[in-house]
Assembly symmetry: none
Homo-oligomer: 130 residues x 4
């Protein structure tokens, strides 16, 4: 994953947020889980800086969307409490894996700033943007 | 517990994971709760590095499996919320005590990388490997 | 400071790095010291992600360049040891304030990835890019 | 870098430590800076668990040995104070990059447990073990 690709992912996600009428923090991490690019739209939540980065990292760290991962972390579910590991994980939607045409995971996007549904839709738009 | 023993525990757990068809992170901590040996199988979750170590530490810190400990940490149970102490605990299965023939606790193993059931089965295989 | 301005600062800094032949991590924080935009050039140091963000924050937190701040933090100087506060500060060059035409501080840029001299030159290019 | 390769690096480093008459903690991180394998020899310092891991990460994060990096972090040197970034870096010898035959960095080894000179010699033995 190149910086040019990460910037394209962010641009596509940002356009989706504008269309949605939301203000988003958008983070892209590489295959090693390290931050590659980030943008906070004007007026977006300050608290979502960290959340968006954690969503992207969570998706990459467990190779599933943060929504799927979060479903396993609910009270009564097998991974209840796992959010305190790894310096803090995001156990709700908005983190999405990005794969190349062969299906290999190349990085992940995390979006935070509106309802979880909006965050997920924006993240998916970004993930499909390449 | 010697390093040779810890490496044997990891080798047995790894063989169990291969048989299971899973990709595991496997950690062994000593009687003091300090990391003794660790291995991440190729392709295993990055997020499970920390989870596997925390599972082993949790078992040793409270002298019970992380599953038994986790049962006490569920909503409504006596230790609800305890996972935020000690820099983060693992309150679900996959951390297992290792005892010598006299029953004395000599260390603990933590396994993370698949379903909690798979993690527990692999950890038990490793714990019985000595 | 808008996201468009932050992205322009990053683009100018990136162009300066390309001209320099260096691979940089570039972070922009807003007037509140919170991350606004970030880019890691392909092949740039992983350790410079955090360093570039800390440089920008340090500049904004004390309203001087991280070089000027760092001079005060040397052994024997008045702020010796201050780098362990605030979750870690950067006490060397590469963090630069950005001011609007009236001289008001609107944000800060942090650059990390090469020698401190290169980092400072790139940060200055970015800071003057608006 | 496979787990088999990481285990070979550790085995070679361990043999070098035995020859040296030292007790070492040995960590290997992958190209993303994430822990791949770890071993603590019987009787080795507990405090060196974290140090060995940080040495390996530091080498990979800045693509140089932790000794070369540490030389830049001494009082009066350009990166003085950088050890407080990235959750703590090791700014002394014992962290070494591992390259494949084409020169590409594939991971890094960190060794801690004796004098810095001994640590460096053991790390180099491990790095050349592949």
């Amino acid at each position: 994953m190149t910086l040019a690709q990460a910037e394209k992912v962010i641009a596509v996600a940002k356009a989706a947020a504008v269309k949605q009428g939301t203000l988003m923090n958008i983070a892209v991490v590489d295959a090693g889980g390290n931050l590659k690019a980030f943008a906070r739209m004007d007026g977006a939540f300050l608290g979502s800086i960290d959340v968006s980065i954690k969503k992207a990292k969570t998706a990459r760290m467990f190779n599933m969307s943060s929504k799927e991962f979060g479903d396993l972390a609910q009270p009564g579910e097998p991974l209840y409490g796992i959010e305190v590991t790894n310096g803090g994980l995001a156990v709700f939607g908005g983190g999405q894996l990005i794969r190349d045409k062969s299906g290999t995971i190349i990085d992940a996007i995390g979006v935070s700033g509106s309802s979880v549904e909006d965050d997920m839709a924006t993240a998916e738009a970004g993930a499909n943007g390449l």
